[in-house]
Symmetry: C2
């Protein structure tokens, strides 16, 4: 295993310590493994909390800051955080307007966030609403999931619901935006290689030199099928076709096209993929109004990419363009 | 070779086509392989041009936009662009105040940019000044270089000279900032794996499973030495010690600490490295005033990282904090 780490058991804590040192706008609770915006709680604003297993950076800790999340809980690599962390963070970001939990649809995450929401209601009186993302069209149920997995659209929910909270909307209003974004988004990914969880010390799965896995999960869980390596234009077809088969993206506001790197794929290749995907969309009558290209929800050093499409409208366009200031996504402020 | 590409011969052109599709603020000349800001030339402003071999993205094309470069020329992967491209781009961004060429110190790049500057003077009357970056303390002379190689500081020169041009400084003034940044910056890198140039189809070099290369070049050219894998805290020592031995970074303005990913190393590991480097700097009396963490000057999918330190002062702090709007670096605008 070739990694720039010390003891595998300390990776998450040491990375959080690095985040604290690098970003004075953030405050990190190393004991609870929580990244907060330094000025949390923001009085009167709905607080946004997400979290999940580590190894998907910049998701979620890199999306903490004005315009996105108020806090993120980090689990061990590919392992859900626990309810105590979520409860502590929920308390820490409640500014009197309640807290939205943004939860990727994995069994552990959903269960732990549910327990945290119950504890918050019982112990603290903080109002909590949860929104579960489940945008991955690859598989229905999977190794760690009942129903579809939550993947790329989670990044977009965090941005768009974050902007809605900044506009002063109440908890029900912010949750409605988050649900609407999840409903309007679909994703599908491909892996060319596995990744290696530090504590395991060896690749999560074997993938022969001449094969790739279509519909891969962000923890390396199985996708739809293994196929021989193919040119980017064919890979793009394999990812986009199931997305377009699942939902219409020809609405008036245009679509947001998000080509995400899994961690080990160079930006050069992501732009080749962007080109291929945008050509397919043009033929299908889908107009791209906004774009996001880069590694935003990763699987350690896995080589591969995912494509997320989101149907936009005037409101979502405005929320997308609103200022954001986080380590992983930053503009206009 | 596992890559999301079509024909290896088309990678650069197709990626540029993807950049054009994804970023309406940019204009791409596919024939000359030039990325321009869409509103170039900006009248009255000094134009900033850089460029080099592809495979280091987001450098340079991802740093085109307000606050950084006016244009970037893309060569084939790890191959210098040619003088014709540079001449065309120089013409295209001259707004009457002259053009600064920012050149990484590699023999091909330096020779081709020199020729382009001569052609520009002879054919067009555009005034050109060139600044060569050579911040890599690892080696004196190397496979492709006379003198030290230009690496991470190039990103910082593009940001800081870009901000100086935005402030309305003249060509001599912008070039002076660029030279001062190069003089005040030092870098050193490490590779855990090789990368694979698409046209070659196999790894550039072999690195055994239990070794890493200290002082690696961004094209995989040899560094100082191969050593057994070591914990992050020891790797950090091996990178920082030669930097601190080469220049003093205890000046009043504090330092900018830039921990750069080579392409295949997850952000989680970069933050572990950031932590280790910042602890060493604290012990050495170096105060970190600004930070940059992420893959900004890469070597395709190479696993590894580099550390760049830049001595700041009031002027450089102000220029660093100035707004920038490019695909690869964006804030405050």
């Amino acid at each position: 295993m070739k990694k720039l780490i010390n003891d595998p058991a300390d990776v998450v804590t040491e990375a959080l310590s690095g985040i604290a040192a690098a970003h004075p706008d953030l405050r990190v609770d190393l004991d609870h493994k929580i990244v907060y915006r330094a000025d949390a709680p923001v009085q009167g604003k709905v607080g946004l909390l997400s979290g999940g297993g580590s190894g998907h950076e910049p998701l979620h800790g890199g999306f903490v800051g004005p315009g996105m999340l108020d806090a993120a809980c980090a689990g061990e690599v590919f392992t859900s955080p626990v309810p105590d962390q979520m409860l502590e963070a929920t308390r820490g970001i409640d500014g009197g307007a309640g807290v939205l939990h943004i939860v990727k649809n994995y069994t552990g995450d959903v269960m732990n966030f549910e327990m945290a929401a119950e504890l918050a209601a019982a112990d603290t009186g903080v109002e909590v609403v949860s929104v579960v993302t489940n945008d991955d069209v690859a598989v229905q149920d999977s190794l760690y999931t009942a129903g579809r997995r939550g993947v790329g659209v989670t990044v977009l929910v965090e941005k768009l619901a974050g902007a809605a909270a900044d506009e002063g909307r109440d908890l029900a209003g912010v949750a409605a935006v988050a649900r609407r974004v999840n409903e309007a988004g679909r994703s599908m990914g491909v892996a060319l290689t596995s990744c290696t969880v530090p504590a395991a010390g060896r690749p999560t799965f074997d993938l022969p030199e001449d094969e790739m896995e279509i519909g891969i999960g962000i923890h390396g869980e199985p996708g739809r099928r293994r196929v021989p390596l193919a040119p980017a234009r064919e890979v793009a077809e394999m990812l986009v076709e199931p997305i377009l088969a699942d939902r219409d993206f020809t609405g008036d506001g245009g679509a947001l096209l998000f080509v995400n790197g899994m961690g080990g794929t160079p930006l050069l290749e992501l732009y080749v993929m962007y080109r291929e995907v945008s050509r397919i969309l043009a033929k299908a009558g889908v107009s791209v109004a906004r774009s996001l290209v880069g590694p935003y929800i990763t699987s350690l050093e896995m080589a591969g990419c995912s494509v997320t499409l989101l149907q936009l409208d005037d409101e979502l366009l405005r929320l997308w363009d609103a200022p954001v200031r986080t380590p992983g996504m930053r503009w206009g402020a």
